[in-house]
């Protein structure tokens, strides 16, 4: 127990305890799936021999995952991909999704249906008022080897709509930035945004969209230069995501680009924080009264985020304190028993909607920040 649990209501504490029980049970099930000879992946069955404990008998709760060494993202670079496919899923069609803006050997993750499940769960969090069932969608962001296009497209289909997709290749963007070709960068962004404007003004009944923060900003500006706005072309709900999603940027969007708060007639916007490993974390609803603070909550129990001490990655910090973001993925397709994200932030308390820990103020981990090209998309 730490300071976290003293500041929440009895009702939330009860919900949090129930959620923890579900997480422990789910952890046990997941570990048994990945470390059983019949269902586990070649990678984890191979790793099992290197461990000084037996996951099948020594992991009894989520806390026991800390017995594993940290997951190294380097393991995901290069082949063979087949080593990641659990035997329990052998023979099923597989996707491979890669990390976004890197230009070396990318990190690859094999996926079977996780991206669909993640986005179906996410769909449950979207209010129908702002994301009408049956409405069409626009996806303005990276596709290619990234999972985003297929995931958003599935989300649209799951909600009864069709998704128009416009690609932005973040690897080309990284190269443009590194070469200092800022004029080309602007033209490329304009090229993407022009396509989005064309879709939105062509009578396709697009009411919902995903866009990266920078592209959303450019799209809003491009529409205003044409004498219209996101609101006027019919957009009702937007989800956006990335570490560049700051309270200041959200305030700018709500107050100046989206026509005010949704409850006062503006376009609804929800921040998300996701990646190829974890799935999609949702945000606590953002409000001006709360200073547009953005707090993310992982889709527990399929994924868990912790905010841990910079000095001890097995030690969560207290509520409101700053630490590095640690990620766990616990699906039957993919197992990550503790991966140190390249981000840091503040630990947030559980609340009714998401009765488990969240993280706010997500930003590049200060020790890595100078080596990271941020703001790619």
């Amino acid at each position: 127990m730490n300071t976290a649990d003293t500041s929440i209501s009895d009702e939330v504490a009860k919900l949090a305890a129930e959620a923890k029980d579900r997480l422990n049970e789910h952890t046990l099930k997941t570990v048994h799936w990945h470390f059983s000879e019949d269902t586990g992946s070649p990678f984890w069955l191979g790793k099992k021999a290197e461990l000084n404990f037996d996951p099948l008998t020594d992991v009894k709760s989520f806390e026991d995952l800390k017995k594993f060494p940290l997951f190294e993202d380097e393991w995901l670079r290069g082949g063979p991909l087949a080593r990641w496919v659990p035997k329990g899923h052998a023979g099923k069609p597989t996707f491979v999704f890669e990390t976004g803006g890197t230009t070396g050997i990318p990190k690859s993750r094999v996926v079977i249906e996780d991206h669909w499940k993640d986005y179906e769960l996410f769909s449950d969090t979207l209010p129908d008022k702002y994301f009408p069932r049956g409405a069409n969608w626009l996806m303005l962001g990276p596709s290619g080897p990234r999972r985003l296009r297929l995931a958003v497209e599935h989300l649209a289909q799951h909600r009864g709509g069709t998704c128009f997709c416009i690609d932005l290749d973040p690897r080309w963007v990284v190269k443009l930035i590194k070469k200092g070709w800022m004029e080309h960068l602007e033209e490329y962004k304009k090229h993407c945004v022009d396509q989005a404007v064309t879709v939105l003004t062509a009578g396709h009944d697009v009411q919902c969209m995903f866009a990266t923060p920078k592209l959303l900003e450019s799209l809003g500006e491009a529409l205003e230069e044409r004498g219209t706005s996101l609101q006027e072309v019919g957009i009702k709900g937007i989800f956006s995501g990335g570490t560049e999603f700051t309270p200041q940027w959200t305030r700018f969007c709500v107050e100046e680009m989206l026509g005010g708060p949704a409850e006062e007639g503006g376009v609804y916007m929800t921040p998300t924080y996701g990646n190829t490993l974890m799935g999609l974390a949702c945000s606590k609803p953002i409000t001006a009264a709360d200073g547009y603070k953005i707090s993310y909550y992982a889709p527990q129990p399929r994924a868990v985020t912790e905010v841990v001490s910079f000095d001890d990655y097995n030690q969560p910090v207290g509520i409101g304190e700053t630490g590095r973001v640690k990620l766990y993925t616990l699906t039957d397709e993919f197992f990550v028993p503790g991966f140190m994200e390249r981000d840091e932030g503040e630990r947030e308390a559980p609340f009714e909607m998401y009765p488990w820990d969240g993280v706010s103020g997500v930003r590049p981990f200060h020790e890595l920040a100078s080596a990271t090209t941020v703001g790619v998309y």
């Binding site: 200092g180 800022m182 602007e186 900003e217 809003g220 500006e221 205003e224 700051t246 309270p247 200041q248 940027w249 305030r251 700018f252 969007c253 100046e256 680009m257 200073g291 547009y292 703001g375």
Partner: protein, 481 residues
């Protein structure tokens, strides 16, 4: 602690995103700056015309008077800066604390900026070659020779992405206001002080607040200014300058590679010019683009280098409040270690000698900052790599080069001081397109005549000379009122 908020055409904006400014030596917080992103800048740029419209409500004569008043306020008054009232002493202390410049250098830059503002009328008179400024206001007019001339403003505002540590360069954007051109400035994250105080002085002097946008932030806000403003200036490295080369929307200010060239007719008397050379290298801790980074002569170069080294080699780091302090700190220590590593590479080349080696260690590392003590190197030929280097501390290469080859080999030179009475050399230096500012005679490179253009005439940058003809209509037009 003082909080500096963005200013959106005169209106303070309460940001949710802050950058802390800390004291370079102690790490103590001294200010926090509210940031904005490119979206806000882009949005404001669509209203930029209102900044010019606000200034056009005043005549240029009125605005010149307000500049004089602002000069006094900037240099001597307590002014509202951010959420605090700032005295001159506080300004100097804050600027020194965040940039690493000794306080007496901050005062000197304060005086320089104020001088330019106070003398704006004469400066514009020279920059426009005596043009009646109302012609710039109206767009056309009779110049006095029976010919209508026209100058069209190319932008309602001047954008500027300002440097982090060079308070002296702010003189470059000051003429915009009396020219009735608004300002959209991205203050440097470590030197927000001059633009904030200057804008406060302008407003206090009666210049409409709507003329000013201050947009602190990351690359995003600077990038938006550069992209959206029809005319903007940026300060940066040689790479930055190269990136904007040939772009008529951008005036890029980078390293100056300023030099002193000594003609064969006077080089035997080089000792007469030693004070001038030392000042050119050492002033403002060698940080300015107008500091001398190369001294070229055909002979006596080793003696010249040794004499300068004897004068500046012993200079050591002193507290910023010490009036004898000559060195500015590198507030980001890695900048000093990185620079020193580059110097070590320069010295590894055969024919390059560190003449200041005997004066002890050059790199001084502290807890939160670092210093580089002055260095003089000798290069036995213009072929050496070091002759085209410029660093952010007192560093000069004394280069041995035949006079006949000098002008062909010097490369880009912001300020070229030519020591000679040889008319052929004077004429050739005047014709050299590599030299921007030509000083003939013993004028230190750092001594600017403000009645001369500096790195491009801002009038040419902001206005376009064009044709404008008028003829009477055959019948009187109907009233439109």
């Amino acid at each position: 602690m003082i909080t500096l908020s963005p200013l959106r055409w005169g209106k303070p904006y309460e940001s949710l995103d802050f950058t802390d400014v800390v004291h370079f030596d102690t790490g103590e917080p001294i200010a926090r700056i509210g940031n904005v992103g490119g979206g806000i800048v882009g949005r404001d740029m669509r209203q930029a015309h209102k900044a010019r419209e606000a200034l056009l409500q005043f005549s240029t004569d009125d605005l010149l008077e307000k500049c004089k008043r602002a000069a006094v306020l900037f240099e001597s008054a307590d002014l509202q800066v951010g959420d605090s009232t700032q005295s001159v002493d506080q300004f100097v202390h804050q600027q020194s604390a965040s940039t690493g410049l000794p306080e007496h250098m901050c005062r000197s830059n304060l005086a320089k900026n104020s001088f330019v503002l106070a003398n704006m009328e004469q400066i514009l008179d020279c920059l426009t070659r005596g043009l009646d400024l109302s012609i710039l206001s109206r767009g056309y007019g009779e110049e006095g020779r029976g010919v209508v001339v026209s100058y069209q403003a190319q932008t309602p505002i001047l954008g500027a992405v300002l440097p982090n540590n060079s308070p002296g360069v702010h003189t470059l954007w000051l003429p915009a206001i009396p020219l009735q051109i608004g300002l959209a400035l991205k203050p440097g994250s470590q030197e927000p002080w001059t633009p904030y105080r200057m804008v406060s002085a302008f407003i206090e002097a009666g210049v409409p607040a709507e003329a000013f946008g201050l947009y602190p932030g990351g690359h995003d806000s600077g990038g938006a200014i550069m992209t959206k403003a029809p005319r903007s200036m940026i300060f940066g490295s040689a790479q930055t300058v190269a990136q904007h080369s040939g772009n008529p929307k951008v005036q890029a200010h980078g390293p100056g590679f300023s030099k002193i060239l000594i003609g064969d007719d006077v080089v035997d008397d080089w000792e007469n010019y030693l004070d001038m050379m030392v000042e050119s290298v050492l002033s403002n801790s060698g940080r300015s683009c107008i500091n001398c980074s190369g001294i070229w002569a055909s002979r006596h170069t080793k003696e010249i280098a040794a004499a300068i080294a004897k004068r500046i080699g012993p200079v050591d780091a002193l507290p910023p409040s010490d009036p004898n302090s000559q060195l500015a700190a590198f507030t980001v220590p890695a900048m000093a270690t990185g620079t020193y590593a580059m110097v070590q590479q320069d010295l590894a080349e055969s024919g390059v000698t560190d003449v200041t080696a005997e004066f002890g260690e050059k790199l001084i590392e502290r807890d939160h900052c670092a210093y580089l003590r002055p260095m003089v190197v000798h290069a036995d030929s213009p072929d050496r790599g070091v002759v085209s280097k410029e660093y952010m501390f007192p560093f000069v290469s004394v280069v041995q080069c035949p006079q006949a080859e000098m002008l062909r080999r010097i490369g880009p030179t912001l300020v070229g001081t030519v020591l000679t009475a040889d008319q052929a050399l004077i004429s050739a230096a005047g014709s050299s397109v590599d030299i921007d500012r030509v000083n003939i005679g013993p004028i230190p490179t750092n001594r600017l005549n403000w009645l001369q253009p500096h790195e491009g005439n801002i009038i040419d940058f902001l206005f376009r000379s064009r044709a404008y003809q008028t003829a009477d209509l055959p019948v009187a037009a109907a009233s439109t009122s």
